[in-house]
Amino acid sequence: MTNPLLAVKDLTVDFITRHGTVHVLDDVSFDIGDGEIVGIIGESGSGKSVTAYSIMGILDHAARIRSGEILFQGRDVLGMNRSELDRWRGKAASIIFQNPRTALNPIRSVGDQIADVLARHTPARASEIRAKTIDALKQVRIPDPERRSKAYPFELSGGLCQRIGIAIALACAPRLLIADEPTTGLDVTTQAVIMDLIRNLAREQKTSVALITHDVALASEYCDRLIIMHAGHVVEVAPTAEIIDHPRHPYTAQLLRSVPSLVDSIGELQAIRGSLPDLRRADLPFCRFAERCDRRLPICDAERLHLGPALERHAVACRNPL
């Protein structure tokens, strides 16, 4: 990968809360190639959504980006001014969210919401925008698009709302789509339909996808590569099959053994020891997994290990990998 579409470099983000500063992301680096589908996997508190929001510039007021670069086609997103950013997001990169219903404006018809994005990024007459809106609805396979474009989110099922979310995100054929837990909260049958839709549209439009999820099985089915996050660190990056078959980071290995769909009987299921370190601590260990790890070495605590710009095929942030 000589020229990635997106390169996140050493991203460090803190949250200022009334209970102290939370070190949410620490030196997060990864990249996403053209047309690739990448899974960003982590449990709650791993920082996967914060990573996505940093890329899109939608972090809330409490967040402080301490350092790092987010390069999109070589251009630093973090350095863009407001209007540059507004012209970039929605057009070059876009995002779909976890809760499809609340992610849509409840009192604006879904057609208008798609049209808003189209009108913003493509210079066109009203009639063209209308036609394009209907096309966008057709693209996400919404039956009876003319009628449905006048519907409001509360009149549609969760699955249909998520298709609208996808239509909004893909309206301007962006180069990058971030899908932040797009099917959590949907039924498993709907999940399959939505995920297939995302994959097929991405392939058609040659859009790269970052699938953010806690569901290892889901990610492994749809993604080319996986990025494993733990407590604000990227711990392992590798092609899907390689990670599933030969996880090298102790956390990845333990995570895989706790996934029900990857084991045959309940006896094989294993839980991960301990819990996430408190990210407000000032004395966070260099390796945030160290306190839960059974392969810990003295050097883990002595020296900081950078995953670095993770350009290797199979990168692992561990002194003593499997």
Binding site: E43, S44, P143, S157, G159, L160, D187, V188, T189, T190, Q191, A192, V193, M195, D196, H214, D215, V216, A217, L218, S220, E221, Y222, I244, Q254, L255, R257, S258, V259, P260, S261, L262, V263, S265, I266, L269, Q270, A271, I272, S275
Partner: protein, 334 residues
């Protein structure tokens, strides 16, 4: 042998608000004639999509709701006739306990973990003295691997996994025969889920507590349960031993459900896409299969007659006119 718990033609219809004054209010058929058998020490998985009635059924079985119709037999005795308030004071209340979905919402925020676990024991084991109560609470906490030091804490001072343990400890402190679990792990991270699942399995094996495990996640059910009941729109559409259902789902809905599970395992089912939305559970037709409109093998007959839940093989039941066809016509799973 009498089953531990048996439901016969159990129904729960909710009256909805009438749209206009004086018009007949419509009824939501949440649970519409369900038969269910749970044997002592057995784990039964109840699966289906949201809105299929599995949560209502779990509340009928735990006697939080009064059934509209049908029988609910606990060791042969009909407990469905007693009102929920009367049942709360009966001897049998202790035997059926429940673990709830959201570990945060199901714990009284003003009670310490000790009081939370002790509460059912205080009510249902009135003869237990103070020392006895403490002994039982600590035993229950130990059984769920909850450090005794945490007993003093309030719910919001506990992690998600710890709260889930308190919820289970509270349910087992009165030594029930049946534990009804309503999606107990859906709010938890996978790593925590794994410990909870193992804990439940251990309770079943070591204490002979039967489990009714309600879930939308077939993978979880597969690991924990020997029997599976699949619900669709208030009805049971398929049930039988889990190994058989996984290997060879007979109902098209079960097939779709299984095929939709993301997995890395080889030989998975060809994806059956369910387009469209389910029919409405409000005043549904009695002369139509409820899977109509989404079924991949739907025929004219399905729209004119409701299939009955029939025996496909010993211990295996399905509600589909064309189940045999589905069994042979499509590639097998796993």
């Amino acid at each position: 042998m009498t089953a531990l718990l048996e439901a016969r033609n159990l129904k729960k219809h909710f009256k909805l608000a009438a749209k206009w004054p004086f018009s007949t209010p419509p009824k939501l058929h949440a649970v519409d004639g369900v038969d269910l058998v749970i044997n002592a020490g057995e784990a039964v998985g109840l699966v289906g999509e949201s809105g299929c009635g599995k949560s209502t059924l779990s509340r009928l079985v735990s006697r939080l709701l009064d059934p509209t119709e049908g029988q609910l037999l606990l060791e042969g005795e009909d407990i469905g006739r007693l009102s929920t308030a009367r049942f709360a004071r009966s001897e049998q209340r202790r035997l059926i306990q429940m673990v709830f979905q959201d570990p945060t919402e199901s714990l009284n925020p003003l009670f310490s973990a000790f009081d939370l676990i002790a509460d059912p024991a205080r009510m249902l084991l009135p003869r237990a003295g103070k020392a006895e109560l403490r002994r039982r609470v600590e035993a229950a906490a130990q059984a769920v691997n909850l450090p005794l030091a945490l007993l003093e804490r309030l719910p919001h001072q506990l992690s998600g996994g710890q709260k889930a343990r308190v919820g289970i400890a509270r349910a087992i402190v009165v030594e029930p025969r049946l534990l009804v679990l309503d999606e107990p792990t859906s709010a938890l991270d996978v790593s925590v889920q794994a410990t909870v699942l193992q804990l439940l399995d251990q309770l079943r094996r070591e204490r002979g507590i039967a489990l009714l495990f309600v879930s939308h996640d077939l993978n979880v059910v597969r690991l924990l349960c020997s029997q599976i009941v699949v619900m669709y729109l208030g009805q049971v559409v398929e049930r039988g031993p889990s190994t058989e259902i996984y290997a060879n789902p007979a109902h098209p809905y079960t097939r779709a459900l299984l095929s939709a599970i993301p997995t890395l395992r080889p030989g998975k089912l060809e994806r059956i896409k369910l387009e469209g939305d389910p029919l409405s559970p409000i005043s549904p037709s009695s002369t139509q299969c409820r899977f109509c409109g989404r079924c991949p093998i739907e025929r004219a007959q399905c729209r004119t007659s409701m299939p009955a839940l029939r025996e496909l093989a010993p211990g295996r039941q399905v509600r589909c006119h064309f189940a045999e066809e589905a069994l042979t016509g499509l590639p097998a799973a796993v």
